[in-house]
Symmetry: D2
Amino acid sequence: MTACETRLRVRYAETDQMGVVYHSNYLIWMEVGRVEYCRAAGLRYRDFEQDEALHLAVVEAGCRYAAPARYDDEVVVKTTIGESSTRLVRFNYEIRNAESGALLATGFTRHIFLGPDMKPHKLPEKYRAVFGVAVNNRS
Amino acid sequence: MTACETRLRVRYAETDQMGVVYHSNYLIWMEVGRVEYCRAAGLRYRDFEQDEALHLAVVEAGCRYAAPARYDDEVVVKTTIGESSTRLVRFNYEIRNAESGALLATGFTRHIFLGPDMKPHKLPEKYRAVFGVAVNNRS
Amino acid sequence: MTACETRLRVRYAETDQMGVVYHSNYLIWMEVGRVEYCRAAGLRYRDFEQDEALHLAVVEAGCRYAAPARYDDEVVVKTTIGESSTRLVRFNYEIRNAESGALLATGFTRHIFLGPDMKPHKLPEKYRAVFGVAVNNRS
Amino acid sequence: MTACETRLRVRYAETDQMGVVYHSNYLIWMEVGRVEYCRAAGLRYRDFEQDEALHLAVVEAGCRYAAPARYDDEVVVKTTIGESSTRLVRFNYEIRNAESGALLATGFTRHIFLGPDMKPHKLPEKYRAVFGVAVNNRS
């Protein structure tokens, strides 16, 4: 899968007294985009945690803010996979105003896979396609 | 113990575009007050969960907003226990501006005790004093 | 209008370490329900604030939690107007699991209308129908 | 001023179902650290907004997560200024467990100064020392 677009509407709770969306909320929107990316690629992330006791733990996140999102705006989060291995995956995000198409932010998150013991864990083969890891990847 | 007062400072993230604190954050401040009440009464709530696998689950919450809290205000949460039994406990809260003493909100939360199976559980005797339950209470 | 149903999906950010949705988030979902109620009744709340400089300020909120919402659940917020006048409006909410229909919570919020000076303000006639106030209401 | 250390205690609301602090909350803690840095340097950020109608708008944020913060931990946010000019300022943050001293995260935020019209604005001379800008800086 190459990209997944998810729409959401800005909540009043997400604004701050500057009259725009408070900046940490973009990381939550990236989570929404990432989960929908996985769902579109065939993986319900809830099952990944519940059935396999595997987790995607965030090890780094970054965001550049280009223009403010405002209350009641519809925004589109476009999620892609940047790079991935059996240990790590990086997601990239573009957040745009749905109506105007204006770029609001670009960001990324890097994750490691954790096993049931919450320690680093090699991604099982059956999930590699979801995260863009070549199935015969030996890394 | 009769009452516990906890101070906190309003975060920018807690405001909304009306220029005041978004109303759901008062429930989080009540949590802060409740945890500090327990600590002052001798119970670190973290230990209650970790060591005993017991939980306080919220079954009802309410808040009346008297005046807005604003960014960077110091507020005082005064927490008391309203009523309690071996099954249930109610906390009451008064939230005031620390500087002026003006009342900002009053609220309450009602909780049940849950056991390791996340089902209702009778509060063990050793914790009854913390929650104001008479130690010989047979309810 | 009698009722408005809004769907949303539980975000990971909304869960807590008890493995369920943290209770203050239900108030945010009620906000989402209320805004969609207004939109369905013909009022974009953003315009109410921007064009008229009117606000709906929360003066009371309450919630009873019947069953926990969990990560990735789809929930339905059913919003109705409880009572209203030119000064006040009460919204009622029922929050259910979209798949099973199980009741998760019931709640309410009470609001007063504020004018540009952030003081109580009589609701202009053209907005009365939206909030269920009889148009010839003289209160 | 070289560095400012601020303590805060992890709230239950800040945890997620992985049993650790949800990653976007670190950006809120950075805000707490930044505001206390400014206060220690002689600037109450609230006055900066209210009296001068100036704002610090976040244009970029990043965080590397080294170890999870957990419920009820006390954490210390150490804030320093990375670089600054009359247009821009970068804050750096180190977040540690207060008890063990273990590093939890490092991060940064970059900001531009906005004027009353919410457009880029040159920082007035009287505030330059606070943000580490040489007072005779002509940039």
